[in-house]
C-alpha cells in the first residue's frame, strides 16, 4: 500500500553507501542492490521452501518443454518462409525436384535437408510441442486429483486451463505451417468444422482463408498466430501462473509434520534449485534423444498440398485426437434418417450440419467443465475453507471417480481418432470398432465412475484396517491351545498420521436461505451433496483408536510409547476379522 505517508531520514538514504562487502559475491550483490535493490529478492527466495514430490514434476516439464520449443522455434524462423507464393522446388530431395509448391513447403524442405541440424531442430521443436501439451495435461490431472485447485488457487487453475487451450492452438497453428498434404487436409477439416457453425461459420472460414479454402492467405496468418500472438499470450499467462504459485506457496501432500499453516520441503538454494535446474537439462536431453532418433512428421513424404490426394491412416498430433475422434464416432444417419436437416426460414432455409455440430457438445462441456469445476465443487460440498494440504485421491472418492470418468471419456474420443488403425492392426471390422467406441463413449465414463469410487472406498477401508490392526506380517503363530493367528505389525505414528488425518463429513442436507425458504436450486445442491458424501469411510476416531488399542491388550505404556514418537512395532495377538 503506497498510500502510507512514511518519511525517511537522511541517514536511511545514505545507508546505501555504507555497506562494505567482504567477498566477491558480496561486491556483485552490493553493486546490483544499490541500483535495483535485488538482495531483498535473494532474501525472499534464496532459502524459500519448496515441497518436493515426484508428481510436482509435470508442471516443470511443461515449463521446460515450452522454453525448449520457443528456442528451437526461433531457430526455425531464420530459414522458414511462411509464404504461399509458388516456387519450383530445386533442393536436395530428388523425388520432389521440379514440383510446384509454396515457399512455406519449399523452405520446410530446405530446413530438413539443406540446413545442417535443421532436421534435428525441426524434430526437437515438434517433440517439444507434443511434450509441452502432454506435460500440461498430466499436470492438470495431478492438480485435479489432489484437489490443488481449491481455494485460494481457483484462479490459477483457470490460468492453467487457459494455458492448455492456448497450447492446443499453438500446436495446431504450427502443425499447419509446412503446407504439405497432411497439414492441408488438417486445415480442410478445420474449414469444414468452421462452415458447420450456424450463421457466422461460412464467413469465419472466408475470413480465415482470405476467401475460399485454401486460398493464398492462410499460412502467413497462421504464422502470425503461431510465432507471435499465441506465444505472447502463453508467456504472459505462464508468468501469471508462476507468480501465483510463489504468492500462494506450493501445496503439499498430507503427512507427518505437514499442516495447513506450514510448508515443508527443501530450500530453493541449493537443493531445490539444483534439482529443478538439472531437470531442465534432463528434459532437453530426453527431447534431443527423441529428435535425434525418432522421426516425426516426415513431411517430404507427403508432397505439396493438393486438394485431391490424401493418405489413409493419417493421424493428427495427439492432442488434436479427441476433436478428430469424436467426429468419427458421430453417425450421420440413424437408419435411413439423416441427422442433417434444413431449418425452414422465410428466405428458403438454412442447413444445420448436425453431424459436425453435435460432436462439439462433449468437447465444449469438457472444456467448460474444467473452467468452472473449482466453483462447482465448492458449491456442492459447501467447503469454502482454504486448502494447502492436498487430498490423497482416495480420500476424495467422488471427485476422484468423477475425474477418472472424465479422463475415460476423453480417452474414448481420443482413441477414436485411431479407429482405422485399430481396425487394420487388429484385423477388425472398421464399422465394429466404431460401434464399440460409440458404446464406450456412453458406458465408459459410467463404468469408470462406479469402479473408481468403489476402489477408492476399498483403499480407504484398507487404510482404516492398517491403522487399527496393522500390516499383515506374514508370520503365522500357533497358540498353546492350537489356535492359529497371523502376526500384525502396527504402523508407526508417522504412517498412522497419514492414514488417519483426513475428513469424510456426512451429507449436509438442504439449508434454507435468509427468507427461510429452500429453493429448487438448493434442493439440487443438497442432492448433489448427498451423492458426493453419502458413500464414505470415516477416518479412525480417537475413541475408536484408544479402544482398539486397549482391546488388543496394549497397556497404556504402549499407547504412551505411540504418542511419544516411537514406532509401534508390537505384533497384535488376535485375528481381527
Amino acid at each position: 500500500m503506497s498510500a502510507s505517508k512514511q518519511t525517511y531520514t537522511e541517514d536511511e538514504y545514505l545507508e546505501v553507501n555504507e555497506y562494505q562487502p567482504k567477498s566477491n559475491t558480496g561486491r556483485i550483490a552490493n553493486y546490483v542492490d544499490t541500483r535495483v535493490g535485488g538482495t531483498s529478492m535473494v532474501r525472499e527466495f534464496g532459502r524459500k521452501v519448496f515441497p518436493d514430490h515426484w508428481t510436482f514434476m509435470f508442471g516443470e516439464v511443461a515449463l521446460y518443454s515450452f522454453i525448449i520449443t520457443v528456442i528451437s522455434g526461433a531457430f526455425l524462423t531464420f530459414w522458414f518462409d511462411p509464404s504461399m507464393a509458388t516456387t519450383r522446388y530445386s533442393g536436395s530431395y530428388a523425388p520432389l525436384q521440379g514440383l510446384e509448391m509454396s515457399m512455406a513447403y519449399a523452405t520446410s524442405l530446405e530446413l530438413s535437408f539443406d540446413v545442417r541440424g535443421g532436421l534435428f531442430m525441426r524434430q526437437l521443436h515438434h517433440w517439444g510441442a507434443l511434450m509441452f501439451v502432454l506435460a500440461m495435461s498430466v499436470h492438470m490431472i495431478r492438480v485435479f486429483f489432489t484437489g490443488a485447485f481449491r481455494k485460494p488457487r481457483e484462479l490459477n487453475w483457470v490460468v492453467g486451463a487457459s494455458l492448455l487451450i492456448l497450447g492446443l492452438g499453438a500446436g495446431f497453428t504450427g502443425y499447419s505451417l509446412p503446407d504439405e498434404v497432411l497439414s492441408g487436409n488438417g486445415l480442410r477439416i478445420i474449414d469444414g468444422m468452421l462452415k458447420a457453425i450456424p450463421v457466422v461459420g461460412t464467413y469465419t472460414s472466408f475470413f480465415l482463408f482470405g476467401g475460399e479454402f485454401p486460398g493464398n492467405e492462410v499460412i502467413p496468418r497462421l504464422y502470425a498466430l503461431h510465432i507471435f500472438i499465441i506465444p505472447a499470450l502463453l508467456l504472459i499467462l505462464i508468468a501469471v501462473h508462476l507468480f501465483m504459485v510463489v504468492m500462494h506457496k506450493h501445496t503439499q501432500y498430507p503427512g507427518p509434520g505437514r499442516t495447513e499453516r506450514n510448508v515443508v520441503g527443501y530450500p530453493i538454494g541449493p537443493v531445490y534449485a539444483a534439482k529443478a535446474g538439472g531437470f531442465f537439462f534432463i528434459v532437453l536431453g530426453v527431447l534431443s534423444l527423441l529428435a535425434g532418433t525418432f522421426q516425426i512428421n516426415a513431411l517430404w513424404n507427403y508432397g505439396p498440398y493438393d486438394p485431391s490426394p490424401v493418405q489413409a491412416g493419417t493421424q493428427p498430433d495427439w492432442y488434436i485426437g479427441w476433436f478428430d475422434g469424436v467426429l468419427r464416432i458421430m453417425p450421420g444417419f440413424i437408419g435411413n434418417i439423416p441427422l442433417e436437416f434444413v431449418l425452414p426460414t422465410p428466405w428458403g432455409g438454412n442447413a444445420i450440419a448436425t453431424p459436425v455440430l453435435v460432436p462439439m457438445i462433449p468437447i465444449t462441456l469438457l472444456l467448460l467443465g474444467v473452467f468452472v469445476w473449482p466453483w462447482l465443487e465448492t458449491w456442492i460440498t459447501g467447503d469454502k475453507r482454504e486448502h494447502h494440504l492436498l487430498d490423497r485421491p482416495r480420500n476424495a472418492p467422488t471427485r476422484t471417480a468423477f475425474g477418472v470418468a472424465m479422463v475415460v471419456w476423453y480417452l474414448v474420443m481420443w482413441g477414436a481418432a485411431s479407429s482405422d488403425l485399430m481396425a487394420t492392426h487388429f484385423a477388425l471390422s472398421l464399422n465394429d470398432v466404431i460401434y464399440w467406441l460409440r458404446a464406450a463413449f456412453f458406458l465408459g465414463p459410467i463404468i469408470a465412475y462406479i469402479l473408481t469410487k468403489r476402489i477408492c472406498l476399498a483403499l480407504q477401508r484398507k487404510d482404516r484396517e492398517v491403522a487399527l490392526h496393522g500390516h499383515e506380517a506374514g508370520v503365522i503363530e500357533v497358540s498353546a491351545d492350537g489356535e492359529f493367528h497371523e502376526k500384525h505389525k502396527l504402523p508407526n505414528e508417522y504412517e498412522l498420521w497419514t492414514l488417519v488425518s483426513y475428513e469424510a463429513p456426512a451429507p449436509s442436507g438442504p439449508r434454507p436461505n435468509a427468507k427461510g425458504k429452500i429453493t429448487a436450486l438448493e434442493k439440487l445442491r443438497a442432492r448433489l451433496n448427498r451423492i458426493w458424501f453419502e458413500d464414505r469411510v470415516v477416518p479412525v476416531s480417537r475413541e475408536e483408536y484408544l479402544e482398539v488399542m486397549s482391546h488388543h491388550g496394549h497397556g497404556p505404556a504402549a499407547l504412551e510409547a505411540a504418542e511419544s514418537r516411537q514406532a509401534i512395532t508390537a505384533g497384535s495377538s488376535t485375528d481381527h476379522r
Binding site: 477439416i189 474449414d191 462452415k195 461460412t202 480465415l208 530426453v286 491412416g313 493419417t314
Partner: protein
C-alpha cells in the same frame, strides 16, 4: 453407508493446523532425519563425487559427438546419389541428436545426483503467510472508495451513462477493420454454389491432364479426375481453390449393379460410368478410397462410407449427405464430358447452403 461397516461416526474436524485433537492421533511432526551414506561415510561421498564428475565427462563427450556429426558428415547436396544423401542425413541427425542428448543428460543427471547425494537433504519447515491481512484490505477498500468519490462518477449519472455508451461503441471499428481479411472480389456465399464444371467441359486425368475415353475405363476401375479448364487458371492458389471444389472420382460399374436412378438422373452416367465429387460432405476430406467389389467409397479421414451403386448414398460414418454426382456423357470424339455443373454445392455443409435443391437455383 452401513455397507462399509463404519458406523455413523461424524468425526468432522475443523481445518487448521491439523494438530487439533480431531484425528486419532496428534500430528507427530517431521520424522527424524535419516542420514544418507554420503553423510556418514566419506568414502561414499567420494564415490558420489566421482559419479557426478563421470556424468559431466559424458556431457563433454556428447558435445564432441555433436561436432563430429555436424562437421564430419557431408551435407546432402554434396551427394550425387540421393539415397546416399539420405543415409548421410540420417547419420548426421542421429549424431547431432544423441550428442546433444548426452551433453544435456550428462549435465542434468550430474547436477541432480549431486543435489541428491551431497547437498543437504534436511527438510525445512516454513510458516505460510496469510494472503492478506484485515488491515490491508480495509485500507485498500478505503483508497478505492476515495478514488471513486473523487471522480464524482456516482453523483453525475450523465457522465457515467454517456461514457458507457461511448465505451460500448468504440471497439466496433476494431471488429470492422478485419472485414478485408477476405480480399476476393466475389465476396459472399454464392461462389460456393458453383465449380469449374459446366456443360461440355472435358473430364481429364489428375494430374496429367489427358482426356478420357469411355473405353479407357474397364469395369471396376476408378480414376481421379479434374476439369480440363482448370489448367487455364494462372495463380497456383486460385487453381487449388477451384480444384478443391472440382475434384471428381470417376468409376465404371457393371450397369446391372447400378440401382434404379431417381427421376431426373437417368442420363447422368454413361454405360455404367459415373462420376462424383471427391470432397466429403462431412468436413471436406478427399474421399479417396474405392473398393471395387462392394462399390463403396471410403473417406480416410473419418471413415464416411458411400455406396457408388446407389447414387453415393451414405452407408456408414458421420457424413450427413450423399456425395454430389456429376452428370456426364461423351462428346462427338468419344471423350467423357460433363453435362452440367454439379447440381448442388459440393463439400461440407454450411449454414447458407439451405436446401439441396432450392427452386430454380440449379438447372435440372
Amino acid at each position: 453407508m452401513a455397507e462399509h461397516g463404519n458406523g455413523d461416526s461424524t468425526a468432522v474436524v475443523k481445518a487448521g493446523d491439523g494438530t487439533s485433537g480431531g484425528y486419532a492421533i496428534d500430528n507427530p511432526g517431521l520424522p527424524p532425519h535419516r542420514p544418507r551414506l554420503a553423510d556418514v561415510d566419506e568414502k561414499a561421498a567420494k564415490r558420489s563425487e566421482r559419479q557426478v564428475a563421470a556424468m559431466f565427462i559424458v556431457s563433454i563427450i556428447g558435445t564432441l559427438m555433436f561436432f563430429v556429426g555436424y562437421f564430419a558428415v557431408a551435407r546432402m547436396d554434396q551427394f550425387d546419389d540421393y539415397f546416399e544423401g539420405m543415409t548421410a542425413l540420417r547419420v548426421q541427425n542421429t549424431l547431432i541428436g544423441v550428442g546433444t542428448a548426452l551433453a544435456m543428460l550428462g549435465i542434468g543427471l550430474g547436477i541432480v545426483h549431486w543435489a541428491k547425494t551431497l547437498m543437504p537433504d534436511h527438510e525445512v519447515t516454513e510458516a505460510r503467510k496469510p494472503l492478506r491481512t484485515e488491515a490491508d484490505r480495509a485500507e485498500a477498500e478505503e483508497i478505492v472508495t476515495g478514488i471513486i468519490e473523487e471522480t464524482q462518477i456516482k453523483r453525475r449519472p450523465l457522465l457515467r451513462n454517456t461514457m458507457i455508451a461511448a465505451a460500448l461503441l468504440a471497439p466496433l471499428p476494431a471488429v470492422v477493420l478485419f472485414r478485408d481479411l477476405d480480399r476476393t472480389e466475389d465476396f459472399g456465399v454464392e461462389r460456393m454454389r458453383h465449380s469449374l464444371w459446366d456443360e461440355g467441359v472435358r473430364l481429364v486425368r489428375d494430374p496429367t491432364g489427358t482426356p478420357i475415353r469411355a473405353s479407357d475405363l474397364t469395369i471396376g476401375s476408378a480414376m481421379h479426375v479434374i476439369p480440363e479448364n482448370l489448367r487455364e487458371i494462372e495463380s497456383h492458389g486460385d487453381r487449388l481453390a477451384e480444384k478443391a471444389k472440382a475434384v471428381v472420382l470417376l468409376m465404371r460399374l457393371n450397369p446391372d449393379d447400378l440401382k434404379e436412378p431417381t427421376p431426373g438422373r437417368e442420363d447422368w452416367g454413361h454405360d455404367g460410368i459415373i462420376a462424383c465429387s471427391k470432397v466429403c460432405t462431412h468436413v471436406g476430406c478427399p474421399v479417396a478410397l474405392y473398393e471395387r467389389h462392394t462399390h463403396h467409397l471410403l473417406c480416410p479421414c473419418h471413415q464416411s462410407t458411400f455406396d457408388a451403386s446407389e447414387e453415393f448414398k451414405v452407408t456408414f460414418g458421420p457424413a450427413g449427405r450423399p456425395l454430389p454426382q456429376l452428370p456426364i456423357t461423351v462428346d462427338d470424339e468419344g471423350f467423357l464430358i460433363a453435362r452440367s455443373d454439379f447440381t448442388e454445392p459440393v463439400g461440407p455443409t454450411y449454414w447458407e447452403r439451405g436446401h439441396t435443391d432450392p427452386e430454380g437455383d440449379f438447372p435440372a
